[in-house]
């Protein structure tokens, strides 16, 4: 950590690719197992295996479930269904026809789920800091919001107390986003102009490795998972992660896929960047406490340095640049920022609560891996 020239030292060739990186890139995840009536109909429809599943029934089931859910953030069925709907826009599923992405009835069902999801967030979040006007004021206000979360921190727990099994659980939760790190925010690029767009691209260049595939943050994360003996193919742990973990990823897709929420996706990214460098240092030191080396901790070392840059760009130039150019987006930016604080706070509390009670934070414990997926 105290290396004079920073933590990441590279030779001329950059980082060697993962042994199965090329295979990983072309593989699609399988459709997940259903977790209730909506996801059962959705997966049955997409797989073409359930003769009872029809578009009409799916829309009706989504509408009914959305009206009846006690809390959509913790609803396994609805968060999984939303995840499946969104994933059609990213990499799709093995054996599922790509044309489902723009199927009008499927989009109608998705809209039912999105409505209850967004309503839940808007009910929980008070309008915050509606006065920040200049880019610097926006940056200051976002940093204050990022610092506001006083709750117990998973990164701090990893630093001090976590066992290797608990760290593996943390990575399984994270993997649903981190193995496609940066993608949800990239949807916003063509929806912006000027300073905000330039700033977002500046950040994303770094996320995508500045032209070196082996330096993409998603690849660095795959390396961390491999070092922990975890399957690092996208979607490999989908059956394990609970609703609140899916909600944290669905939040980014909701914001990223709707142009009307372009301010929210920037607010979301700004908070992600502003809550990364210090926790990444805690993760890195925690992994070293458990005896892991650069191959596992390297992802977090990279984020200590990268996100100390990104948080400055994200607050002032990106989010601040958007609000200066289009003050009407201010409410959205701060809504997006508050939403990530809320949802990721709940996810952290879920993980720490489970471990406090001596159980797994996943829907089922991780099985021993490392040799069974043919690296």
């Amino acid at each position: 950590m105290s290396d004079q020239t920073g933590t990441m030292v590279h030779d001329a060739t950059g980082v060697d690719p993962l042994p199965d990186a090329s295979r990983r890139g072309s593989r699609q995840m399988p459709l997940p197992q259903q977790r209730g009536p909506v996801s059962a109909l959705l997966c049955g429809l997409l797989a073409g295996t359930d003769p009872e599943a029809s578009r009409q029934r799916l829309v009706e089931a989504a509408s009914l479930a959305a009206a009846q859910t006690p809390d959509v953030l913790f609803d396994e069925d609805l968060q999984l269904a939303l995840f499946v709907c969104y994933e059609l826009h990213y990499r799709g599923f093995d054996g599922v026809d790509d044309t489902w992405e723009w199927d009008p009835e499927l989009l109608r069902a998705r809209a039912e789920l999105e409505r209850v999801f967004e309503d839940r967030l808007r009910t929980a979040i008070d309008p915050v800091d509606e006065t920040a006007t200049t880019a610097q004021e926006v940056s200051d206000a976002l940093f204050a919001l990022a610092e506001g979360g006083d709750g117990p921190s998973v990164a701090d727990f990893v630093l001090r107390h976590a066992t290797t099994d608990q760290v593996r659980e943390v990575m399984a939760h994270k993997s649903v986003y981190q193995l496609k790190e940066a993608d949800p925010h990239t949807w916003a690029i063509p929806r912006l102009e000027g300073r905000a767009k330039s700033a977002l691209v500046e950040i994303q260049m770094d996320e995508y490795g500045n032209g070196r595939p082996g330096r993409m943050h998603s690849e660095l994360f795959a390396r961390t998972m491999a070092g922990l003996g975890l399957d690092h193919r996208f979607g490999a742990h989908i059956e394990h992660v609970p609703a609140i973990s899916l909600a944290s990823v669905n939040l980014m897709s909701l914001f990223g896929l709707h142009r009307r929420l372009r301010g929210a996706v920037l607010g979301h990214l700004a908070i992600y960047e502003m809550t990364s460098s210090l926790p990444s240092s805690q993760y890195s030191r925690g992994l070293r406490r458990l005896g892991f080396g650069d191959d596992v901790a390297g992802y977090f070392d990279e984020h200590v340095e990268a996100d100390a840059v990104h948080e400055q760009i994200a607050g002032r130039d990106m989010a601040g640049g958007l609000i200066e150019a289009d003050p009407a987006t201010r409410g959205q930016v701060f809504f997006g920022a508050a939403a990530v604080c809320l949802v990721d706070g709940l996810l952290g509390a879920w993980q720490l609560g489970a471990w406090e009670q001596g159980r797994s934070s996943l829907r089922m414990p991780l099985e021993a891996e490392g040799t069974d997926h043919g690296v």
Binding site: G6, E202, L278, V309, Q312, R316
Partner: protein
Amino acid sequence: MESDGASITVCPQGPLLVRGDFSLTDGTGAEIDNDRGTVALCRCGRSAIKPFCDGTHKLIGFDRPKK
């Protein structure tokens, strides 16, 4: 907007954000390994990865008004 050359943003209570065309060298003139186009240089003096920023300024109330 920016021509050739570097631009430096003095981030309030934070690092120096350096963009553009620059080289980073240590006291002997040796180039400091730098992976990214834009860098944040520590201004609070407490970073563990100097000369780069690691966000520590946020923990120590760097450059904030005295209470």
